[in-house]
Symmetry: C2
Subunit: 339 residues, 2 copies
DNA sequence: CTGTTAGCGCGTTCAT
DNA sequence: ATGAACGCGCTAACAG
């Protein structure tokens, strides 16, 4: 099956292995006639090039690695899907690694990928309280083509393709302020981390622009980024605070928040309006369809893969993050007139 | 960087390349003293084995391919996560391919995977009206270790690890019947396909067991398996029918169904109860937490990967599907006493 | 235009 | 226990 080699093809086609190789790779130096002869032999023998030998010879495996926190949040699944599609177009394969938002896991996954001979790396940075960047430093030194996607690590902002997160928060906050809401809470993460720092900036900017003071305690740092973290954050918070609006840093947390409110008898949007971030597919079909900030992940995926292949081909790369503009999607969860 | 080779290590350690190779692979024939010397040189030079050469030599890339319909339905993301974890334990990498429930795409992805030299394949079968199995037939002939997961293709039931789908439908249907519901509708897919055929069997069995007649038109064939398909199926259906209960073949469709009902003013569970299938993470934190059938995907993933490695090692394989028992998770969406 | 041959880097005999 | 040499299958440089 898989063990018919070029030699066999060469023998059948009565040419040399070199000729077979060039024919298969459609080299212009081979006569069309010879090519056809070779291709025929290939068909007849059902010859498949040995990928390992090919990789060894070319020093390339035509596969790249993608690191994501995990797939509990469907956002990363959708992202992976777009990236997969882009790689497909380039006849490359995608290796998936899950970091679980842990630096240690991230290091292990990267090491594993390198052991497997990937040509390049796409990284969604880890979000956690305890981030160790030693391996990122090493990675940077190693010159393995790497693109950061949706965010970057402080101090490593080269080759990053992401949403203008600040702008997204700004837009949704401004929308709520324009509607008359004033007591707005942002359920975020550790403010040292880029994705949260940027979102908070946009949030604050919207208030500043209208000469409004950002209310006290209006930024909550949740302990994680999943449903339950949104759920828990609000269970505690609501006892002492009754804001008019709640913003979450992603859609799944927003869903957790809505569930949490519902569980204690608070209605959305009647009693409090809620918005998320990402615009994952399910957001639009929730019972209370979710207003959110749409990250243009299709364009981001396209651009990130394109940049990665530039790097692989030895082209220069970019020094600062390339930001894509988000847009806001207004649905029922924020649809209330304020009195 | 990556271009320090065994030769260099051998030179530094003053041994031959053969000795280096055996030392690295911890061969018992090498003196401990020599090993240490070699390992030291490896450290000092930061030597990494070239994965391409290694693959060529061993005819193995230590990577396996997983085919899924896509990640819009988070179920497959969660499945991928478990599989990834299992492969991790075995120092193998995971390649992801997305079929989009299309046979053509499936064929392309498989070809791509083979071109990249995967050691084995894990396939979630395509669900579509137009299934072409020629490539599956070829795959079967090629002897590439392959395990089917969550379902199988008719005629190819070897090496399949899946949920006892029939039992799941049976359990949830029986639960509703026991509660007194009689007019129950199953929103399913093409009944020729294994996953739907099996679910329908369980559905019918529950009625049979209680000597009840399955109501007419109680199985709807939706055109797809996502939110919108559930949504659409009900929008049409509800005009003419008002069942007491609706079962969906997966959770995201159930969510679409609930949204659909809500949009026309029908309450869940007050006016109609709804249940899904899969028990994805978000199901429990929906506004109306979803009753569902839990597929034991962690065990399924473990077993599937284990079987795949058995096959890779040349062990025999299994002739018939290995079924794992599901359980039902009862939440608010079915929580109503019937009068 | 095509044949010949030398690597690519590692694993693995076969002698010693 | 270790060194020398060959083979894995393919690409590319060189000769003709």
């Amino acid at each position: 099956m898989g063990n018919v080699t070029m030699k066999d093809v060469a023998a059948l086609a009565k040419v040399s292995v070199g000729t077979v190789s060039m024919s298969i790779n459609d080299s212009p130096m081979i006569a069309d006639d010879t090519k056809r002869k070779v291709l025929e032999a290939v068909k007849k023998l059902n010859y498949k090039p040995n990928p390992y030998a090919k990789s060894l010879s070319l020093s390339s495996s035509r596969s790249i690695g993608l690191l994501v926190p995990g797939f509990i949040n469907p956002f990363f699944g959708e992202l992976a899907q777009f990236i997969q599609h882009e790689l497909d177009l380039r006849k490359n394969s995608l290796m998936i690694g899950i970091t679980n938002d842990s630096s240690e896991k991230e290091k292990k996954v990267i090491d594993g990928f390198i052991d497997h001979g990937i040509d390049g790396l796409l990284i969604v940075p880890v979000n956690s309280d305890h981030i160790n960047l030693n391996h990122i430093y090493d990675l940077n030194k190693s010159k393995l083509p790497t693109v950061y996607i949706t965010s970057y690590y402080k101090g490593f902002q080269e080759n990053c393709i992401m949403t203008n997160l600040s702008k997204g928060s700004y837009l949704i906050t401004k929308h709520l302020l324009d509607k008359g809401f004033r007591s707005i809470v942002l359920v975020s993460g550790h403010s040292d981390l880029v994705p949260f720092k940027e979102r908070i900036e946009g949030f604050v900017k919207a208030f500043d622009e209208m000469n409004l003071k950002v209310p006290n305690n209006s930024v909550i740092e949740a302990s994680g980024m999943n449903f339950k973290d949104g759920y828990n954050a609000i269970q505690d918070f609501w006892k002492k605070n009754k804001p008019e609006a709640i913003l979450a840093v992603n859609d799944v947390m927003a869903m957790g928040i809505i569930s949490s409110l519902k569980a204690i008898g608070v209605r959305v949007p009647e009693d409090v309006v809620v918005a998320g971030y990402d615009d994952i597919s399910i957001s639009g079909i929730q019972e209370t369809p979710l207003s959110t900030v749409k990250q243009p992940i299709e364009n981001i995926s396209k651009e990130a893969v394109s940049l990665l292949f530039d790097l692989i081909e030895g082209k220069p790369g970019i020094q600062d993050p390339c930001y894509f503009d988000p847009s806001i999607i207004l649905r029922k969860s924020t649809n209330r007139k304020i009195v």
